[in-house]
């Protein structure tokens, strides 16, 4: 374990941000801890925050395990991260506006045309269309990992509909309910401004044809979706409607909600469904989740869709390698956050290297998410490695590989007491009239000893994430 950066203990000493927590854990006997843990679980269950795991069947009311040991950043650490995250969010949006417009970055030879225009996530249907304020990705979730006191790496960008923000908010709420004294002693930056900021962001991108206070709604695939809780939670906090496709219809160049008082015009849709389901007339004809004619209204400026259809082309794992290039190209700045070195199996040299070093690498599908279809070399069996070798040979363009990062650990409550477990971080950056970032994010923790996979679908848990005020 000594190879990993422990965010609390550095060479036997407690690092500054965790100073107060040292006393807190000392003063907490095992029985109290178990009681609190049970209390937290009861609270989560009562609130109804549950997470159904795709393809596993089983209990639809499963909880994501919540670890009470907070993850802490100093103000100084956070400011640095914040600058890097905002920089990245700006560059990603500039890229999207560009590739659906003149494609300067491709013409300049900085990114291969094939990667952009033949990308599955590239939406021909929106080329040439400029969304309000030229913004495509209004909520950017940037997954970060840490390997040392000052070393942060971006693992991936999520430009479409990053989920998990409800956990950021609820984890805080529950920690404050259970340990009010901790919050009195430490000065922790609040995160509860997120919903207002999100609402402001969405309102600021109202379509040109909207001449009043915009009506906003969240479009959900429905209550069977694993993230439904989050959709309804956010709608509630913002005071906006939560709609399904069947609640909407298109008429006279606008989108309308079916209400008990007749049709009501809708101006901004924060969609939590994939592009391909948005409009059966434009994308998948078999989609039951979408709204026929929605894309026509969108392209004629009758409604804003956030994130904009097509935003996915920026968060593809193959495009990811070029984000530092985007930052230089559009912003004329040096990237503040580093990328993880990435090998593209589509390139012959890279593929050769990857196949020779499989036991040391992490291999991912270009379009995969949620920790599925992933190989963690150092943890894999021989069979798994050979299986991946075949898969890569079969379709090299579909895979990338990265070195196995020495993910930092933070103290985590486990059966035997407190032990270090690997963590990552997903902050949520809002892009509208302003670029905003609430001080915090979702920390995911791999609860299994030694595991580097933090995805909730693979047995990961969550933690409250603190940014200390100065």
């Amino acid at each position: 374990m000594s190879n990993f950066f422990n965010e609390m203990y550095d060479g036997g000493k407690v690092r500054e941000p965790y100073a107060r927590l040292e006393g807190w854990t000392r003063a907490m006997p095992a029985e109290l801890r178990q009681m609190k843990q049970a209390e937290a679980e009861a609270l989560f269950r009562r609130i109804g925050i549950t997470f159904a795991v795709y393809g596993e069947g089983g209990d639809p009311d499963r909880l994501i395990p919540f670890d009470m040991f907070p993850r802490v950043f100093t103000q100084f650490e956070w400011r640095k991260l914040e600058r890097g995250i905002k920089q990245r969010a700006r560059a990603l949006n500039a890229f999207l506006l560009d590739v659906y417009g003149r494609g300067e970055i491709v013409r300049a030879g900085k990114i291969p045309a094939r990667l952009v225009y033949q990308n599955e996530a590239f939406e021909r249907a929106v080329t040439g269309f400029v969304p309000p304020r030229g913004i495509y990705s209004h909520i950017v979730g940037i997954d970060l990992v840490r390997t040392g006191p000052d070393e942060f790496f971006v693992l991936e960008d999520n430009c479409r509909t990053p989920s998990g923000v409800s956990y950021m908010l609820e984890n805080r709420e529950i920690m404050m309910r259970m340990f009010p004294a901790l919050f009195r002693e430490s000065r922790i930056e609040p995160v509860d401004g997120y919903a207002d900021a999100l609402r402001r962001t969405l309102a600021s991108v109202a379509p040109a044809k909207c001449d009043r206070d915009p009506t906003i709604a969240i479009l959900t695939p429905g209550h069977f979706n694993s993230a439904y809780y989050e959709h309804s939670f956010l709608a509630d906090l913002m005071g906006v409607e939560l709609v399904e496709g069947a609640d909407l219809f298109v008429e006279g160049g606008f989108v309308w909600m079916r209400t008990t008082e007749g049709p009501k015009k809708l101006d901004v849709i924060y969609r939590r469904i994939d592009d391909s389901f948005l409009d059966p007339l434009c994308f998948r004809p078999d989609s039951m989740l979408g709204v026929p004619g929605l894309m026509d209204v969108y392209r004629s400026g009758g409604v804003t869709i956030t994130s904009a259809p097509g935003a996915g082309v920026a968060d593809d794992k193959a495009i990811y390698t070029f984000v530092p290039e985007m930052i230089r190209f559009y912003l004329g700045e040096e990237p503040l956050l580093q990328n993880v070195p990435t090998w593209q199996c589509g390139k012959a040299d890279d593929k050769k290297y990857v196949l020779e070093h499989l036991p040391e690498l992490v291999v991912k599908e270009v379009h995969g998410s949620g920790g599925y279809g992933m190989l963690v070399g150092p943890k894999a069996t021989k069979d798994q490695i050979e299986h991946f070798r075949l898969k890569i040979e079969e379709d090299p363009g579909n895979y990338i590989a990265q070195p196995t990062l020495a993910l930092s650990t933070t103290p985590t409550f486990v059966e035997e007491g407190i032990a270090p477990r690997h963590v990552d971080l997903r902050p949520y950056c809002l892009v509208g009239e302003n670029i905003e970032l609430v001080p915090g994010g979702l920390t995911r923790v791999a609860l299994t000893d030694g595991s580097l996979v933090v995805n909730s679908s693979q047995g990961g848990g969550v933690k409250d994430t603190w940014v200390l005020a100065e």
Partner: protein
């Protein structure tokens, strides 16, 4: 409000009311079964209970003979029976989960707790569960849900849709509960008012938690006419058909006021109430209790369809 949200709210209330009715039906059945019956025996009484709850067919398919224990399982625990207590509570909670944003946390808590406790009940051995315990549990959960709604909800359109759900379901359910009585004891003139008949009527009152209330309201001897009056025509009785109809009409009127628009549903509610107001108990017995109740259930069904069309379907313009 979204039509779908209104529909979910409407159904939360209907399922809770229905769960309560199912529990009350079971109680009526269990009590009536303890009594010597009017010549049909044990079996027909439970049969009649299934008839009245509209679940006879489904039951026959699954179990065949109406044995008390099976009927209890079917009406309380069986998920294959869409009207069982368990199905109703589960769906009420699922509807609530869908419209969490339209409910206060107290209302959600009440519904969610009912669901969580129900799952614990389901894990217990049936031999450990007394029927009266189960029915009391259901009544208690329903009371908590109603209490939370009453104490915490904004009096907006959502509140009216919830209460419309309660009122329309209750009108339908009280009528059906009374109909059990009809099935148990075919209304032969010489039975009406006899000693046994009265005992069975009293059982019905007990199941409706209205035994005491009845005595306060009428006093003296219990007669079929008094009870019919109490459950159908008395505006003081919270479960009477006239009270339920009037409640539905009130909430429809408030919706019309809020929305500045009245329609066929309001007119129909007024008509049903008008007729009830002018009906005398004698008229009901003359028409035949069963015939009267069947007609009433149909009318409430039609009114419900009008509500559906006007507000819940999303077709309103």
């Amino acid at each position: 409000m979204l039509s779908r949200t209104a529909e979910n709210l409407f159904w939360i209330a209907r399922y809770i009311e229905r769960a309560e009715t199912m529990a009350r039906l079971l109680e009526v059945g269990a009590r009536i079964a303890l009594m010597p019956s009017a010549g049909h025996g044990y079996r027909s009484e439970w049969e009649s209970l299934l008839q009245a709850s509209g679940t006879a067919e489904g039951f026959a398919e699954k179990y065949g003979d109406p044995v008390q224990r099976n009927i209890e399982s079917y009406l309380f625990f069986d998920r294959d029976n869409p009207s069982s207590v368990v199905s109703c509570i589960e769906r009420a909670r699922e509807n609530a989960r869908i419209v969490r944003t339209a409910l206060t946390s107290q209302v959600w808590d009440a519904l969610n707790m009912a669901f969580q406790e129900m799952r614990q009940l389901e894990r217990k051995a049936r031999s450990e569960l007394e029927l009266t315990e189960l029915t009391e549990w259901v009544n208690r959960q329903a009371a908590m849900v109603r209490g939370a709604m009453d104490a915490t909800l904004l009096r907006n359109d959502g509140y009216h849709f919830l209460n419309l759900g309660f009122a329309l379901e209750r009108a339908d359910n009280t009528a059906r509960l009374m109909d059990v009585k009809y099935y148990v004891l075919l209304p032969r003139l010489d039975f009406v008012g006899g000693g046994l008949d009265n005992y069975q009527w009293q059982t019905l009152l007990r199941a409706l938690s209205a035994h005491r209330a009845f005595h306060w309201a009428y006093g003296g001897e219990i007669t079929a006419a008094k009870i019919a009056h109490f459950l159908i025509l008395n505006r003081q009785s919270p479960r009477s058909l006239i009270t339920a109809t009037e409640t539905a009409m009130d909430h429809l009127d408030q919706l019309a006021r809020d929305y500045h628009k009245s329609g066929p549903a309001q007119m129909r509610a007024r008509a049903v109430l008008g007729e009830l107001s002018e009906t005398r108990v004698e008229d009901i017995f003359e028409e035949g209790l069963h015939e009267f109740l069947t007609r009433f259930i149909r009318e409430i069904g039609e009114l419900t369809e009008m509500v559906q069309h006007a507000y819940l379907s999303g077709e309103a313009r």
